[in-house]
């Protein structure tokens, strides 16, 4: 017993020593090369503009800290919208795959196999190219509904009392979804929905056959059986793997860099290059993603306990 305690302490000390060696070696080398270090740069003026700011006021005269905040808000916006739509689409596809309708179930299976087996980065380029190359310029924008404009500058939607109008180079007013945001969101949603569909299908199939038969024998239709009997029980199996899909979606949103959506990684990359402080920049990115991921996990664990308790009380 005592021996194993010693071994544990030894291991901890060894890990600590290695970390200390890396930290001091790095600090020494940065000092020797006269490379700036520390986080003082966060309070300095950023000097660059950001294309979309998720309704945070920002200009080039603001600080790096604020610029990173805008990047974080952009990441959060695309991740939240992505999680919402991916859950919805994934559930529909998962249920469709179980449908007695042969065509519907095969279509769903085809969708899942396609999106799951093409790298996400390739899919993002695909959507971005579709949007920026196939849509017309702002002056020839498609106008499918009154106040709605589709062009290679993005999708412009009317808000009450605020209809987009073409002025100068681009539309102004209304709500704007940029091609970068749209491509990233569509890419993340369709890709993650493929995995979610399989989780939903597995969850539904895990409900014992007897439960389903009992539901039908009580006179419930398929829809009612799903709603009241099958899904509530399937949920307990679905939630834990769903958490990791939400985490994946959030982390995958960092691929935004490739298609020019100003997410946290994109803004942090620019910051690192303007300040030359790569180690601090990477540390910021890691800390932020860790925080977001742990928060999502904590929320999902809480939700999981809530539905699990209800099951246990049965």
């Amino acid at each position: 017993m005592k021996k194993s305690w010693l071994a544990q302490a030894g291991l901890l000390a060894a890990v600590g020593l290695v970390l200390w060696y890396f930290a001091s070696n790095t600090a020494q080398n940065l000092e020797a090369r006269k490379i700036a270090s520390g986080f003082a740069f966060l309070a300095r003026e950023a000097g660059f503009e950001i294309g979309e700011t998720s309704s945070i006021a920002y200009s080039a005269a603001d600080t790096y800290l604020r610029a990173l905040g805008v990047g974080l808000a952009n990441t959060a916006r695309v991740a939240l919208a992505g999680i919402l739509f991916a859950t919805f689409l994934g559930t529909l596809v998962g249920l469709a795959r179980l449908s007695p309708n042969w065509l519907l179930s095969k279509l769903a299976a085809g969708y899942v196999e396609t999106v799951r087996n093409i790298p996400l980065l390739v899919q993002l380029f695909f959507w971005y190219t579709i949007i920026s190359e196939s849509l017309p310029g702002p002056e020839d924008a498609l106008n499918p509904l009154p106040g709605v404009f589709l062009s290679n500058r993005g999708i412009f939607l009317p808000l009450p009392g605020d209809v987009p109008v073409l002025s100068g180079f681009n539309f102004s007013g209304g709500m704007a979804l940029t091609p970068e945001f749209a491509a990233l969101l569509i890419g993340l949603v369709t890709y993650t929905a493929g995995f979610i569909a399989e989780i939903v299908r597995a969850g539904v199939l895990s409900v014992p056959r007897g439960q389903v038969d009992a539901a039908y024998s009580m006179g419930l239709e398929r829809r009612g059986a799903l709603r009241y009997i099958i899904l509530p029980q399937a949920l307990r199996l679905i939630v834990p793997p769903m958490t990791s899909q939400y985490l994946n979606l959030t982390k995958n949103s960092s691929l935004a860099v490739a298609i020019g959506y100003p997410d946290l990684v994109s803004v942090a990359n620019t910051t690192m290059n303007q300040t030359g402080q790569a180690i601090e920049g990477i540390a910021v990115i890691m800390a932020v993603y860790l925080t977001i991921s742990l928060s999502i996990s904590a929320f999902m664990n809480w939700y999981n306990r809530r539905i699990a308790l209800r099951g246990a009380a049965r």
């Binding site: 890396f22 070696n25 790095t26 020494q28 080398n29 940065l30 020797a32 090369r33 006269k34 490379i35 700036a36 000097g47 660059f48 503009e49 950001i50 294309g51 979309e52 200009s59 080039a60 005269a61 190219t129 920026s132 190359e133 017309p136 310029g137 702002p138 002056e139 020839d140 290679n152 500058r153 002025s167 100068g168 180079f169 681009n170 102004s172 091609p179 970068e180 860099v257 490739a258 298609i259 020019g260 100003p262 994109s266 990359n269 620019t270 690192m272 290059n273 303007q274 300040t275 030359g276 790569a278 180690i279 990477i282």
Partner: protein
């Protein structure tokens, strides 16, 4: 990912790199590891055979010619704007010769030293001729085109730009100073950012004028459809950089650059240097190493400069081979004797 690896290299291996001077390390491994642009015609770009060409590449070769007497002893590391400084800091490359602007922030806080300037540049804007729509659509519809002739007309424009560059900062400064707004579309890969511009995602593409000329002539579907606006909004002295704190290597790279400029001034070229080597002109005698021991002072062979000119050429030759065919004007990059800014301190 590459950035991560480089950062790791900085964490782990940096002390080893620091232990010996770069010149010794280069001589020992037998080649110069040169950081270049991933592909900018005229500066550094592989040709159809995969051979790197351009004025930045010629500088890499000049260093190899000076150190080894063999201009081919170079290995190239293509770097994006974002990767370049970390690659140099961590010792992944020996010299960064990648159309990089010399600024005080970079010189003082990035742990590197700029050795000089091999191209005097400035930032400009490129727009589609006759207005804002994607290629051809405008003409087909026959609408009246709004002609852009000045950068002052760009209020509200969408601008494609690469991140991690002085370009991004100058752009914001210029619009702020002129009380105009713009929407940046920031994409790291050159290929992707110019595709976005040519696809009509942006009204404007901005980078150094040299880059605009290069992209227009080598990448545009129809070069004549694009105009470079007259405003040059910044000074962009482009030059090679080395790591801070290694003066001997700094000297070697600096004088390899100056030797190319001095050779042009002395009228020495790759074609005539063998005949000129026996000239009675004492400046030429010193340059080719027939008198004095300038090479030894640099820690190199006495024929270092002769080898540079013989194997790579002088600055003017490099300019004419690489940049002239793309439509570059020599402009302020002429020698000082011809009214330009290219000036090398005396080699004596």
């Amino acid at each position: 990912m590459k950035r991560m690896i480089v950062a790791m290299a900085a964490l782990v291996g940096a002390s080893a790199v620091h232990a010996q001077s770069t010149l010794e390390a280069v001589q020992k491994k037998g080649y110069v590891q040169c950081g270049v642009n991933v592909g900018l015609a005229g500066f550094s770009q592989p040709d159809s055979q995969g051979v790197w060409k351009g004025i930045d590449v010629d500088l890499c070769k000049a260093i190899a010619a000076a150190v080894f007497g063999d201009a081919s002893k170079v290995r190239y590391t293509p770097l994006t704007a974002q990767q370049r400084f970390t690659a140099l800091q961590s010792g992944e490359v020996d010299v960064l010769s990648r159309n990089t602007t010399w600024t005080i922030t970079r010189d003082t806080s990035l742990g590197l030293n700029f050795v000089g300037v091999n191209y005097y540049d400035g930032q400009g804007f490129m727009v589609r001729k006759g207005g804002v729509s994607a290629e051809g659509k405008k003409a087909a519809k026959g609408k009246a085109a709004r002609t852009i002739t000045s950068a002052k007309q760009l209020n509200g424009a969408t601008v494609c730009v690469q991140p991690g560059t002085t370009t991004e900062l100058n752009l914001a400064d210029y619009f702020r100073a002129n009380k105009m707004t713009f929407k940046p579309v920031v994409i790291e890969k050159l290929e992707e950012v110019i595709n976005a511009y040519f696809a009509g995602r942006c009204d404007v593409y901005t980078t150094d004028v040299s880059g605009l000329v290069s992209v227009r002539s080598s990448r545009a579907p129809k070069p004549e459809d694009h105009v470079i606006l007259p405003e040059v909004i910044s000074k962009e002295p482009l030059g090679p950089a080395v790591r801070h704190g290694d003066d001997r290597w700094f000297d070697v790279v600096k004088w390899a650059l100056f030797a190319m400029i001095e050779a042009e001034e002395l009228g020495l070229s790759s074609k005539n240097i063998d005949q000129q080597a026996s000239s009675a002109n004492p400046a030429v005698q010193r340059f080719v190493g027939a008198s004095g021991d300038i090479g030894k002072m640099l820690g190199l062979d006495n024929k270092w400069a002769l080898n540079i000119v013989k194997q790579v050429g002088n600055y003017g030759e490099s300019f004419d081979t690489n940049l002239k065919p793309l439509g570059f004007d020599r402009g302020i990059n002429k020698l000082w004797t011809q009214g330009g800014l290219m000036y090398a301190p005396p080699i004596r």
